[in-house]
Amino acid sequence: MSRINQIAEKAAAENRKLLIPYLVAGDPNLETTITLMRKLVEEGADVIELGIPFSDPSSDGPVIQRAVERSLAKGTTLHQVLDLVARFRESDTITGIVLMGYLNPIEIMGYKKFAEAASASGVDGVLTVDLPPMEADELNAVMRAHDIDTIFLVAPTTREDRVASITEHCSGYLYYVSLKGVTGAALTDFDSVTANINSLREKTKLPIVIGFGIKDAESAAAMGQLADGVIIGSALVEKIALLADQVEHDADLLSETIKVISEAREALDKLV
């Protein structure tokens, strides 16, 4: 059983919602990223989605675009992101790590080489936003051979007849995109999310987590009520943007930076 499966099962048994922060690796630098990852775990993160920076993030809104640009300005590479995960694993073998990004850096590294390196580093899952299930067979096979989960998105626009092909390819958890748009947009249509999640429940036993547009304790609680967990990205990355590009940071400042995650944890824990 994969680490993500274990985390999800344990959470379900404890009636606890999964809290999944997203941040871009190398923003503002790799040292700060690892410090933030450890701190996020202390504040109750179950899984961390680590963004692999890519020059052309066409599914991301301005907040994450700028984070990616900051990271790339430091020369962050996929190799370095994998090294970062290996370092994180030296002191944490419990928290799930999912790499989220676009296909080209993985394609250029080579699927097999990437899978081997990711597995050796302690990566648990991969979410490639521009790789839909119908193009994913080859990468999926390689990732599965290395016991790495392949996570896929379901969007409000996803047709009913495609859901089966997505859930077939998906393992770990299913990522429901709460809105039509890019990361960081405003979530307005709670009713359609409810209806879509309920319909997904009938089609899969995978844990379902909701992302895009969750920006505070209130929206985390609202979405947490519907799903098995929530992903918070832009609202966290927006705060990370305020950190100076240095290795050491004031502890209080870091707590302030990730406050949205602490507050979301608190709100999610009140749900049950």
Binding site: F54, N104, E107
Partner: protein, 412 residues
């Protein structure tokens, strides 16, 4: 000096019938977009499959091309250019004479008809040099549709007259400040807009790239160039040409000329990429001829200029319309099949050809098309006088005169 290539060794002509049902040309093409856009891309594929089998759709398209665009465009024997090159006869396929001044309108007319049939009220487009933006704004005005054109902030400065032209046509030109602030970033921003406004919006992609079905449908709309050229060659020369030459950025004008000839083994084809400051300098926009690997960008797998970490590289060309790090996936396939030879012309060579054609024939070519002229002149010199070359003169150069003047230190 280039030599006329022997045509590719006998290969099954069926390899040129792509894409397959899932949108692949061999290993290239496909659908690589976020989940939010999958339904829109699939809907477009379904609508296009239905309409492209409908004769009345093509009748409507042909009628627009005839009465609005001014087709057919002439195939013109450039006698003085031929004499200058000193070899094969050089013919120009005059896409520069189309309404809006380039081949781009062949595609925007077709896609606007698709948008209309799909009941979309809002058009978005990306543009580099502004030609596709102008062609999109033009058809949007004609059909009374709302139009937003995404354009890199750098390109907005480089192509001010086209920006004003789009505004005159009623389009909203959106400056893209992210990434390298050029065409590829404009395309990213258009994809973001599409994901956000997917219900009422039609995205007119300007070249034979993007997720399936775009590379196929843009090609189909541009094939009017090659079909006309084929008929005109038979009529005016009495036989097929020996070689075709076209510039390749994304590659829509080239595929439009080449595709109807792919199964004619005797016809050699040359796609001319932007060599910029020279392939050796790395400052170019030539993913096919400079030895790049395949990658994935903007919805398709294709040869792509990216670094060893998989980051897409910034490109350079004197011509904004060729300044793109990828290329249409069908070109990648035609390269691998060795059906088309992909070569380059540098900024300097293109500039020289720009002046040569202008002075010798009284035709001011677009800087994009000047790349094709530059290579064709070299190619013609290696061929005998009984051979014939057709150049796709994909656009006129009025839009470029400020750029040329600036490079040559002339104040207008």
């Amino acid at each position: 000096m280039p030599k006329l290539e022997e045509s590719a060794a006998a290969i099954d002509p069926a390899v040129f019938d792509g894409p397959d049902a899932s949108g692949h040309f061999g290993p290239y093409g496909g659908v690589f977009v976020g989940e939010t856009l999958i339904a829109a891309v699939e809907e477009l594929a379904e609508v296009y499959e239905k309409l492209s089998a409908d004769k009345s759709f093509w009748a409507e398209y042909d009628s627009e091309l005839k009465h609005y665009v001014g087709r057919p465009s002439p195939l013109y024997l450039a006698e003085r250019l031929t004499n200058f090159a000193g070899g094969a006869k050089i013919y120009l396929k005059r896409e520069d004479l189309n309404h809006t001044g380039a081949h781009k309108v062949n595609n925007t007319i077709g896609q606007a008809l698709l948008a209309k049939h799909m009941g979309k009220t809002r058009i978005i487009a990306e543009t580099g040099a502004g030609q596709h933006g102008v062609a999109s704004a033009t058809v949007a005005a004609k059909l009374g549709l709302e139009c937003h054109v995404y354009m890199g902030a750098e390109d907005i400065i480089r192509q001010a007259p086209n920006v004003y032209r789009m505004k005159l046509l009623g389009a909203n030109v959106v400056s893209v400040e992210s990434g390298s602030r050029t065409l590829k970033d404009a395309m990213n921003e258009a994809l973001r807009d599409w994901a956000t406004n997917v219900d009422n919006t039609y995205y007119i992609i300007g070249t034979v790239a993007g997720p399936h079905p775009y590379p196929m449908l843009v090609r189909d709309f541009q094939c009017i160039i090659g079909r006309e050229a084929r008929e005109q060659s038979l009529e005016q020369i009495g036989k097929l040409p020996d070689a075709l030459v076209a510039c390749v950025g994304g590659g829509s004008n080239a595929i439009g000329l080449f595709h109807p000839f792919l199964k004619d083994e005797s016809v050699a084809m040359y796609g001319v990429e932007a060599g910029g400051h020279g392939l050796a300098t790395g400052e170019h926009a030539a993913p096919l001829s400079s030895g790049c690997s395949p990658g994935v960008l903007h919805g398709n797998r294709t040869y792509l200029m990216s670094d060893e970490a998989g980051q897409v590289l910034e490109t350079h060309s004197v011509s904004a319309g060729l300044d793109y790090p990828g290329v249409g996936p069908e070109h990648s396939w035609l390269k691998d099949m060795k059906r088309v030879k992909y070569v380059d012309a540098t900024d300097d060579e293109a500039m020289k050809a720009f002046h040569q054609l202008t002075r010798l024939e009284g035709i001011i070519p677009a800087l994009e098309s000047s790349h094709a002229v530059a290579y064709a002149v070299k190619l013609a010199a290696t061929m005998s006088a009984d051979k014939n070359i057709v150049i796709n003169l994909s656009g006129r150069g009025d839009k470029d005169i400020e750029t040329v003047a600036k490079i040559e230190g002339i104040e207008l």
